[in-house]
């Protein structure tokens, strides 16, 4: 056992896992996180807490993670390389583990241009792959990047995650980037939101044929469309996102009041397909500012009750 987290135990047991997502508030209001925890507890196995996503300043992912864990929800603390150098990153890894965090997602981070402080200086002292390797070295060798060692039994026991985007170009390279993350030491990956199922199947086939799915747990990222407008926005304006016309047409086919329900129907169909794809170990449900719908989605997908090990 690398970390002893619930997520690690379930994946090792071969359960089809479901992870959720929680964005901390743009304030010091802990009750926002506690409220979101209510809709996630018992419905998902672990919850990503985002780290100033889209470069907008929010309550820190470490603080959000701890609040979730106080509410009995296991956190998956996200960490981006945009805002910290290697000194701060390693320090936060040690601190987070000391405070009970067991899962960590290693990300490069969105460019600050997208956020509320576009004039900020970015860091990117490490990139996501170097971050994975750093955490793995800290955990498995008890060493910092500098070579400084820590006593046996005091290493940060973390289950190491990363994100992958099967849809960004060059498409042919993407599976090699996954291989690179595996070589660096990642334990599980969560994908960018999937809408183009055929392309995702092709990606998973490549990964499977290369033997990669035996070395890493792949959680397929899914996000329900709340409306036709959202689907159109995702199709046109979100870089690295592949939304086929088929999704747009399904939402167009129902009246406006029924679009969010149809969005959830699309998602439920996706989950059934994903369950059958070799190498898919679970789903990562990103119900962005729609956490209150998570219980009904998980129930309708037939994924309740959540297993325990």
């Amino acid at each position: 056992m690398k970390s002893g987290s619930n997520l690690e135990k379930l994946l090792n047991a071969g359960e089809f896992v479901i992870t959720g997502e929680c964005g901390p508030p743009r304030s010091a209001d802990a009750s926002v996180v506690r409220e979101k925890a209510k809709y996630l507890k018992g419905y998902v196995d672990s919850v990503n807490v985002t780290d100033n996503q889209t470069s907008v300043v929010r309550m820190s992912s470490l603080a959000g993670s701890l609040i979730l864990q106080e509410e009995g929800v296991e956190a998956n603390m996200q960490m981006v390389c945009r805002d910290r150098n290697r000194i701060a990153i390693q320090s936060d890894v040690l601190g987070a583990t000391a405070l009970g965090i067991r899962n960590m997602l290693c990300l490069s981070g969105d460019h600050q241009k997208f956020g509320d402080h576009p004039e900020a200086k970015n860091v990117f002292d490490l990139d996501s792959i170097q971050l994975i390797q750093t955490v793995k070295m800290m955990r498995d060798e008890g060493k910092l990047i500098s070579g400084q060692e820590m006593a046996e039994g005091t290493e940060p026991r973390l289950f190491i995650g990363a994100a992958v985007n099967p849809f960004a170009d060059p498409f042919e390279y993407r599976v090699y980037r996954l291989a690179k993350k595996i070589a660096a030491g990642v334990d599980f990956v969560q994908t960018q939101c999937i809408y183009n199922m055929d392309k995702f199947k092709e990606y998973m086939k490549q990964a499977h044929d290369m033997g990669l799915t035996e070395k890493v747990h792949v959680l397929a990222g899914i996000t329900p469309m709340k409306s036709l407008g959202m689907a159109r926005y995702m199709q046109k304006s979100v870089p690295g996102m592949d939304v086929p016309d088929e999704i747009i047409n399904r939402l167009k086919g129902v009246e406006k009041g029924g679009q969010s329900k149809e969005g959830i129907n699309i998602l439920l169909d996706q989950i059934q397909i994903l369950k059958e794809i070799p190498g898919v170990a679970g789903v990562h449900l990103m119900a962005i500012e729609w956490e209150e719908r998570v219980p009904e989605i998980v129930e309708a997908a037939g994924l309740l009750p959540r297993p325990t090990v």
Binding site: N122, S128, Q130, A168, P170, Y176, K180, G240
Partner: protein
Amino acid sequence: MIRSITKQKSEEEIDRLLDGLNRIFIVGCGTCVTLTQTGGEAQVESMKEALSNKGKLITGQTVVPVACDNLTGEILEDFGSQIEQADAMLIMTCAYGVQTMANQLKKMVVPALDTLFIGKETSLGQFNETCTQCGTCVLGETGGICPVTSCHKGLVNGPCGGTNNGKCEIDDAKDCAWTMIYNRLKDLGRLEAMRKYQQPRNHQGEPSPGKFNVPVMENGL
């Protein structure tokens, strides 16, 4: 040829920097800023007009051949009293020129330009930053295209998830550095270079501030 690329500061900022300084000597440069039309004869002339209209007294003006050259101080000696009676020199060169003059003349200097980067003219009238002089060159493993400079995140282990039809997610007019590297390595039959893990960069490679001494030969040359 590489050039120091500059941009004129806003009128408000120049006004603020010159507040209370009424007698001004203006200097341009015949090299980079002439080429980029930010500090050549024409720009110095229009700056003189603009400042005169605001009631400043222009004690003199000149465009030196190469502002960053150590000879600049000597050249400016010819303008002795014009510079002496000025409250400040408004300098329309890159920051290398501004600092050269500040050191040589011991005179209050005010830059009229912001220095953006050292750029290479990649096509007529277009300058691009292709090297940030990081001190730890990776070009041997990236097909000769620099991701430290050309990737907005300076990533050295391949493209992030934001490549968008070969363009960068933060600027759809800019090619994704890693897509260019991928295509170059593919043409060269060296794609395996992108599968290799690159260690965290050594930022000590870039001394800050940079300093270099040409080795002195035994014969004194």
